[in-house]
Protein backbone atom coordinates (compact mmCIF):
# COMPACT_ATOMS: atom_id res chain seq x y z
CA UNK A 1 0.00 0.00 0.00
CA UNK A 2 1.00 3.55 -0.57
CA UNK A 3 0.44 4.28 3.07
CA UNK A 4 3.40 2.17 3.90
CA UNK A 5 5.61 4.83 2.43
CA UNK A 6 5.67 7.80 4.75
CA UNK A 7 5.12 11.23 3.27
CA UNK A 8 8.47 12.35 4.53
CA UNK A 9 10.20 9.98 2.12
CA UNK A 10 8.80 11.92 -0.77
CA UNK A 11 9.78 15.14 0.85
CA UNK A 12 13.31 13.94 1.45
CA UNK A 13 13.66 12.86 -2.13
CA UNK A 14 12.32 16.13 -3.42
CA UNK A 15 14.48 18.15 -1.05
CA UNK A 16 17.56 16.26 -2.12
CA UNK A 17 16.63 16.79 -5.71
CA UNK A 18 16.05 20.44 -5.01
CA UNK A 19 19.45 20.92 -3.53
CA UNK A 20 21.13 18.86 -6.19
CA UNK A 21 19.52 21.23 -8.63
CA UNK A 22 20.83 24.16 -6.66
CA UNK A 23 24.24 22.58 -6.65
CA UNK A 24 24.07 22.25 -10.39
CA UNK A 25 22.96 25.81 -10.74
CA UNK A 26 25.90 26.99 -8.74
CA UNK A 27 28.59 24.88 -10.31
CA UNK A 28 27.80 24.07 -13.91
CA UNK A 29 29.62 26.16 -16.40
CA UNK A 30 27.35 25.80 -19.34
CA UNK A 31 24.30 28.02 -19.40
CA UNK A 32 22.17 25.21 -20.74
CA UNK A 33 23.17 22.86 -17.97
CA UNK A 34 22.27 25.60 -15.54
CA UNK A 35 18.90 25.74 -17.16
CA UNK A 36 18.67 22.00 -16.71
CA UNK A 37 19.42 22.41 -13.03
CA UNK A 38 16.57 24.86 -12.83
CA UNK A 39 14.32 22.22 -14.29
CA UNK A 40 15.47 19.87 -11.55
CA UNK A 41 14.51 22.43 -8.95
CA UNK A 42 11.10 22.95 -10.44
CA UNK A 43 10.54 19.23 -10.64
CA UNK A 44 11.38 18.72 -7.02
CA UNK A 45 8.87 21.36 -6.08
CA UNK A 46 6.28 19.61 -8.17
CA UNK A 47 6.89 16.37 -6.31
CA UNK A 48 6.24 18.22 -3.10
CA UNK A 49 2.97 19.60 -4.33
CA UNK A 50 1.78 16.32 -5.66
CA UNK A 51 2.80 14.33 -2.62
CA UNK A 52 1.17 16.78 -0.27
CA UNK A 53 -1.95 16.78 -2.31
CA UNK A 54 -2.14 13.04 -2.31
CA UNK A 55 -1.24 12.43 1.31
CA UNK A 56 -2.80 15.30 3.11
CA UNK A 57 -5.47 17.05 1.12
CA UNK A 58 -6.75 14.65 -1.48
CA UNK A 59 -10.23 16.19 -1.48
CA UNK A 60 -9.06 19.11 -3.53
CA UNK A 61 -6.64 19.23 -6.36
CA UNK A 62 -4.76 22.41 -5.50
CA UNK A 63 -1.33 20.85 -5.39
CA UNK A 64 -2.06 18.93 -8.49
CA UNK A 65 -3.01 21.99 -10.41
CA UNK A 66 -0.15 23.96 -9.05
CA UNK A 67 2.21 21.35 -10.39
CA UNK A 68 0.44 21.51 -13.69
CA UNK A 69 0.87 25.25 -13.94
CA UNK A 70 4.45 25.05 -12.85
CA UNK A 71 5.11 22.76 -15.75
CA UNK A 72 3.47 25.14 -18.15
CA UNK A 73 5.32 28.14 -16.83
CA UNK A 74 8.56 26.18 -16.83
CA UNK A 75 8.07 25.54 -20.49
CA UNK A 76 7.57 29.21 -21.24
CA UNK A 77 10.49 30.15 -19.10
CA UNK A 78 12.70 27.57 -20.76
CA UNK A 79 11.72 28.88 -24.14
CA UNK A 80 12.68 32.44 -23.37
CA UNK A 81 15.79 31.34 -21.52
CA UNK A 82 16.95 29.32 -24.46
CA UNK A 83 16.29 32.20 -26.78
CA UNK A 84 18.45 34.39 -24.62
CA UNK A 85 21.10 31.71 -24.34
CA UNK A 86 21.29 31.54 -28.08
CA UNK A 87 21.54 35.27 -28.24
CA UNK A 88 24.38 35.13 -25.72
CA UNK A 89 26.03 32.47 -27.80
CA UNK A 90 25.88 34.70 -30.82
CA UNK A 91 27.57 37.55 -29.04
CA UNK A 92 30.05 35.83 -26.79
CA UNK A 93 30.63 32.88 -29.10
CA UNK A 94 30.27 30.55 -26.16
CA UNK A 95 27.85 29.95 -23.38
CA UNK A 96 30.23 29.60 -20.51
CA UNK A 97 28.61 31.31 -17.58
CA UNK A 98 31.91 32.41 -16.14
CA UNK A 99 32.72 34.39 -19.21
CA UNK A 100 29.45 36.22 -19.19
CA UNK A 101 30.70 38.72 -16.67
CA UNK A 102 31.45 41.91 -18.51
CA UNK A 103 29.46 43.85 -15.96
CA UNK A 104 30.66 43.69 -12.41
CA UNK A 105 31.41 45.58 -9.22
Amino acid sequence: MLSQIPLSYFLIVSTLMFFIGVYGFLTRKNLITILMSVELILNSVNINFVAFNRYLYPEQLQGHFFALFVIAVAAAEAAVAIAIIISVYRKFMNIDVERVDTMKH
Partner: protein
Protein backbone atom coordinates in the same frame (compact mmCIF):
# COMPACT_ATOMS: atom_id res chain seq x y z
CA UNK B 1 8.02 -4.91 0.83
CA UNK B 2 5.07 -3.96 -1.20
CA UNK B 3 5.07 -3.17 -4.81
CA UNK B 4 4.56 0.47 -3.92
CA UNK B 5 7.59 0.54 -1.80
CA UNK B 6 9.67 -1.11 -4.46
CA UNK B 7 8.40 1.31 -7.00
CA UNK B 8 9.03 4.24 -4.76
CA UNK B 9 12.56 3.30 -3.93
CA UNK B 10 13.23 2.54 -7.55
CA UNK B 11 11.98 5.89 -8.71
CA UNK B 12 13.49 7.74 -5.81
CA UNK B 13 16.81 6.12 -6.39
CA UNK B 14 16.66 6.90 -10.07
CA UNK B 15 15.72 10.49 -9.39
CA UNK B 16 18.57 11.04 -7.00
CA UNK B 17 21.08 9.17 -9.09
CA UNK B 18 20.21 10.81 -12.37
CA UNK B 19 19.88 14.21 -10.74
CA UNK B 20 23.40 13.89 -9.51
CA UNK B 21 24.52 12.72 -12.89
CA UNK B 22 22.72 15.60 -14.56
CA UNK B 23 24.60 18.13 -12.57
CA UNK B 24 27.94 16.41 -12.72
CA UNK B 25 28.21 14.82 -16.14
CA UNK B 26 30.95 16.35 -18.16
CA UNK B 27 29.25 15.74 -21.47
CA UNK B 28 26.37 18.04 -22.06
CA UNK B 29 24.24 15.75 -24.17
CA UNK B 30 24.53 13.04 -21.58
CA UNK B 31 23.46 15.49 -18.95
CA UNK B 32 20.40 16.23 -21.02
CA UNK B 33 19.69 12.56 -21.27
CA UNK B 34 20.02 12.10 -17.55
CA UNK B 35 17.64 14.99 -17.05
CA UNK B 36 15.21 13.15 -19.26
CA UNK B 37 15.53 10.11 -17.02
CA UNK B 38 14.89 12.22 -13.97
CA UNK B 39 11.80 13.66 -15.51
CA UNK B 40 10.55 10.26 -16.51
CA UNK B 41 11.18 8.90 -13.02
CA UNK B 42 9.27 11.84 -11.64
CA UNK B 43 6.35 11.03 -13.82
CA UNK B 44 6.68 7.53 -12.46
CA UNK B 45 6.18 8.94 -9.01
CA UNK B 46 3.11 10.76 -10.24
CA UNK B 47 1.76 7.53 -11.65
CA UNK B 48 2.45 5.87 -8.37
CA UNK B 49 0.56 8.56 -6.56
CA UNK B 50 -2.24 7.92 -9.00
CA UNK B 51 -2.19 11.24 -10.78
CA UNK B 52 -2.13 9.87 -14.26
CA UNK B 53 -3.08 13.08 -15.98
CA UNK B 54 -0.28 14.95 -14.41
CA UNK B 55 2.11 12.14 -15.16
CA UNK B 56 1.09 12.28 -18.76
CA UNK B 57 1.57 16.00 -18.90
CA UNK B 58 4.95 15.57 -17.30
CA UNK B 59 5.94 13.06 -19.90
CA UNK B 60 4.71 14.96 -22.88
CA UNK B 61 5.33 18.53 -21.95
CA UNK B 62 8.36 18.22 -19.80
CA UNK B 63 10.15 15.20 -21.01
CA UNK B 64 8.88 15.60 -24.51
CA UNK B 65 8.83 19.36 -24.91
CA UNK B 66 11.34 21.02 -22.71
CA UNK B 67 14.02 18.43 -22.98
CA UNK B 68 13.71 18.50 -26.71
CA UNK B 69 14.21 22.22 -26.97
CA UNK B 70 17.09 21.93 -24.55
CA UNK B 71 18.68 19.34 -26.76
CA UNK B 72 18.07 21.50 -29.78
CA UNK B 73 19.73 24.40 -28.15
CA UNK B 74 22.62 22.19 -27.16
CA UNK B 75 23.03 21.20 -30.71
CA UNK B 76 22.98 24.83 -31.74
CA UNK B 77 25.50 26.02 -29.26
CA UNK B 78 27.83 23.18 -28.35
CA UNK B 79 30.01 20.56 -29.80
CA UNK B 80 28.63 17.16 -28.99
CA UNK B 81 31.95 15.73 -28.04
CA UNK B 82 32.91 18.64 -25.95
CA UNK B 83 33.76 17.67 -22.41
CA UNK B 84 33.55 20.26 -19.72
CA UNK B 85 36.54 21.14 -17.70
CA UNK B 86 36.42 19.94 -14.16
CA UNK B 87 34.91 22.29 -11.69
CA UNK B 88 37.32 24.03 -9.41
CA UNK B 89 37.63 22.15 -6.18
CA UNK B 90 37.18 25.22 -4.08
CA UNK B 91 34.02 26.22 -5.81
CA UNK B 92 32.58 22.78 -5.57
CA UNK B 93 33.44 22.35 -1.90
CA UNK B 94 31.94 25.66 -0.95
CA UNK B 95 28.86 24.89 -2.93
CA UNK B 96 28.56 21.46 -1.37
CA UNK B 97 28.84 22.95 2.09
CA UNK B 98 26.12 25.45 1.38
CA UNK B 99 23.89 22.98 -0.35
CA UNK B 100 24.38 20.32 2.29
CA UNK B 101 23.65 22.81 5.01
CA UNK B 102 20.49 23.77 3.20
CA UNK B 103 19.44 20.21 2.68
CA UNK B 104 20.11 19.24 6.28
CA UNK B 105 18.27 22.26 7.54
CA UNK B 106 15.30 21.62 5.31
CA UNK B 107 15.08 17.92 5.95
CA UNK B 108 15.50 18.24 9.68
CA UNK B 109 12.85 20.89 9.78
CA UNK B 110 10.53 18.81 7.67
CA UNK B 111 11.06 15.78 9.85
CA UNK B 112 10.38 17.79 12.94
CA UNK B 113 6.98 18.73 11.58
CA UNK B 114 4.14 16.45 12.37
CA UNK B 115 2.03 16.02 9.21
CA UNK B 116 -1.25 14.51 10.13
CA UNK B 117 -1.62 12.18 7.22
CA UNK B 118 -5.22 11.57 6.33
CA UNK B 119 -6.83 8.42 5.08
CA UNK B 120 -5.47 8.08 1.63
CA UNK B 121 -7.86 8.33 -1.23
CA UNK B 122 -5.86 6.57 -3.79
CA UNK B 123 -8.15 6.63 -6.76
CA UNK B 124 -7.17 8.65 -9.74
CA UNK B 125 -9.12 11.87 -9.92
CA UNK B 126 -11.72 11.79 -12.54
CA UNK B 127 -10.62 13.27 -15.83
CA UNK B 128 -13.88 15.06 -15.85
CA UNK B 129 -13.15 16.56 -12.48
CA UNK B 130 -9.88 17.84 -13.76
CA UNK B 131 -11.53 19.28 -16.79
CA UNK B 132 -14.33 20.99 -14.92
CA UNK B 133 -11.96 22.30 -12.29
CA UNK B 134 -9.84 23.77 -14.95
CA UNK B 135 -12.76 25.58 -16.45
CA UNK B 136 -14.68 26.38 -13.30
CA UNK B 137 -14.81 29.88 -12.00
CA UNK B 138 -15.94 29.05 -8.52
CA UNK B 139 -13.94 27.97 -5.56
CA UNK B 140 -11.29 25.51 -6.60
CA UNK B 141 -11.79 26.45 -10.19
CA UNK B 142 -8.80 27.29 -12.27
CA UNK B 143 -10.15 29.05 -15.31
CA UNK B 144 -8.44 32.31 -14.46
CA UNK B 145 -4.91 31.00 -14.18
CA UNK B 146 -5.62 28.92 -17.20
CA UNK B 147 -6.46 32.04 -19.16
CA UNK B 148 -3.62 34.07 -17.76
CA UNK B 149 -1.12 31.45 -18.62
CA UNK B 150 -2.16 31.85 -22.21
CA UNK B 151 -1.04 35.43 -22.02
CA UNK B 152 2.18 34.22 -20.48
CA UNK B 153 2.78 31.86 -23.33
CA UNK B 154 1.95 34.60 -25.80
CA UNK B 155 4.37 36.90 -24.06
CA UNK B 156 7.04 34.23 -24.00
CA UNK B 157 6.56 33.90 -27.70
CA UNK B 158 7.00 37.60 -28.28
CA UNK B 159 9.95 37.51 -26.00
CA UNK B 160 11.66 34.84 -27.97
CA UNK B 161 10.85 36.64 -31.17
CA UNK B 162 12.22 39.92 -29.93
CA UNK B 163 15.45 38.33 -29.02
CA UNK B 164 15.82 36.42 -32.19
CA UNK B 165 14.51 39.06 -34.56
CA UNK B 166 17.06 40.46 -36.93
CA UNK B 167 17.16 44.05 -38.08
CA UNK B 168 15.52 44.86 -41.30
CA UNK B 169 17.64 45.86 -44.23
CA UNK B 170 19.96 48.50 -43.02
Amino acid sequence: MSIHEIMFFLFAGMIILFSILTVTSRRILRAATYLLFVLISTSGIYFMLNYQFLAAVQLTLYAGGIVVIIIFSILLTSHINHRFEKIELKKSIFTIIAVAAGAILSISTILSYNFNTKVLVTENPDMQLIGTSLLSYGKNGYVLPFEVISILLLAAMFGSIVIAKKEKSK
